[in-house]
Symmetry: C2
Subunit: 287 residues, 2 copies
DNA sequence: GAACTTCTTGACTCACTAGTCATTTTACTT
DNA sequence: AAGTAAAATGACTAGTGAGTCAAGAAGTTC
């Protein structure tokens, strides 16, 4: 089976528990049940391993939010739902998040630096997109303050979720966060508070954003999702939208029911217009 | 010359820049201009060194807020001012904060763990005290949510301050944060939002708080400050209060004017009742 | 089943660093 | 100036861990 994936998982587990520097390649190899030499045939260095970990898990966590972004809930609900599914993802990949929160990595290199920058950029452009959808252009002068506070609240609740055993429900938490943002945003919009941050100061955090939005071109799966959603939207009628939303829901489960998925895809494929896109996505989700 | 202090400063600088594991005792020794053997005569191990660093700088940053807590500004202004002086402190000890933010330390030991717990407890009990002073007991059900969000906003703005060159003014920032807390608190109090966190979940974060408040018994200097402020408050009249506030202001400067300080202390010492306390504090501040 | 290719292994090298301690240097005393 | 106590030094020990590679195992082909 997928040995590469097994390595990533074992590494995340160990690094999450003991930290990057206190986890040796030997221990990772032992934990997967292979030799150090083998390990090095998959990842040419420890640094490459940690980068691959980040890329792998980031993809998993963000993809959820991306897919939610495609359906057409009203902005407020969609934002909350996106938080929710990310929190669900985080609960599922707890040890990845533990690792991430420790923050300790290799001596920062070019590669690592640019990856961190991309990750941050992705988060911020997602937040920006949502703020603009919610409040329109009038929010622009306050967007950095809002994004900054949102990001910090988001991060710290994430930390809370993974460190305490008594799970806070992802749904509640998503709604909570959006509500707090809304309160702060309205206060800004009513002119009571003044912003502290501006484009100039935040330049290091603003990544050249894709016109398309926050989540473009991050993987074949995401493209396949987008293609299906776009097609579904072009045909009107809610039926296929319900089907694809149901597929999205099922695919987020930790053990999606393969038969249910197959059946749902069958429904999509009945429509000739959708056939190609549906098959492409099915290919991605059921290998 | 205080060699111990020189070591702490050099170590903070190096660890802040390169991280704990990538800074060797040899490099620290070289940077101070002493030998490794000497270094080990001050700090019996690397772990002891990092703990001493934390104790030293935590003291410096928090002491400022402690002293502000003693004067009698109205709660809202006092809270903002406390944030402000902490931010000023943070700017002054930037590399300490960089080090702290990296978060990476030795394999967590008993000692380190308990120090981290104490630090967190100190921050939270300070926040709690201020929330109670501002809103009274009615805020209790919402205090954890507010404290949690405050702490996360505080931490993330701190990170922003040390990472961007364009300094955000500590005064503005202090006011900004208190204003945001106020908005969120009022929303809770008006019953629009429901709290998410409770005592049960937050047990790991609540430290057995001193009855006295958040900042007690953290050092001789703080006790001396408290003694003077208490005496000044017992005598009434604003004169001595103005003097001691002025002393507090001067002492926060990076290079306090020694003559000004001496003169101000002279003014206090004119009052027989204050003489002993004033001398004790002067002893602490002008060694 | 022999010849050949690909994968896997773990002993080995090399670089690094926390912590020690016999020896030397400096500071102080008489 | 000699003697003694205290402080500073840096070569040394012992341990760790990233990354390599020659030799061996497993799989494939004819």
């Amino acid at each position: 089976m997928d040995k590469r994936k097994a390595i990533l998982e074992a590494a995340v587990e160990l690094i999450g528990a003991k930290g990057y520097t206190h986890t040796s390649m030997q221990q990772i190899a032992d934990s997967v049940g292979i030799s150090k030499g083998s390990l090095y045939s998959f990842f040419p260095s420890k640094e490459d391993l940690i980068i691959s970990i980040y890329e792998h898990y980031q993809q998993l966590v963000f993809e959820r939010a991306f897919v939610i972004g495609l359906n057409d809930l009203p902005p407020y609900e969609r934002f909350a739902k996106q938080f929710q599914v990310q929190f669900e993802g985080i609960l599922e990949y707890k040890s990845y998040m533990k690792m991430h929160m420790r923050g300790e990595t290799a001596q920062s290199s070019e590669k690592l630096e640019s990856m961190a920058h991309r990750m941050r950029g992705r988060l911020f452009s997602w937040l920006e997109r949502n703020l603009l959808d919610l409040y329109g252009d009038q929010i622009s002068p306050y967007k950095w303050d809002l994004m900054w506070m949102t990001q910090s609240i988001y991060t710290s609740y994430t930390g809370l979720m993974i460190s305490t055993e008594s799970t806070i429900g992802p749904e509640e938490l998503g709604q909570h966060i959006v509500r707090q943002i809304d309160i702060l945003a309205n206060d800004f919009l009513s002119g009571n508070s003044h912003p502290l941050l501006d484009d100039e100061m935040m330049r290091p955090f603003s990544v050249g954003m894709d016109r398309e939005g926050a989540f473009t071109s991050f993987g074949k799966r995401e493209e396949a999702w987008k293609a299906v959603y776009d097609k579904v939207h072009s045909l009107n009628g809610d039926y296929y939208l319900d089907v694809i939303d149901r597929i999205s829901e099922e695919s987020r489960k930790s053990k999606p029911d393969e038969l249910v998925m197959k059946g749902l895809f069958q429904l999509l494929k009945e429509e000739v217009e959708l056939k190609a896109e549906a098959e492409a996505l099915e290919e991605q989700l059921l290998p």
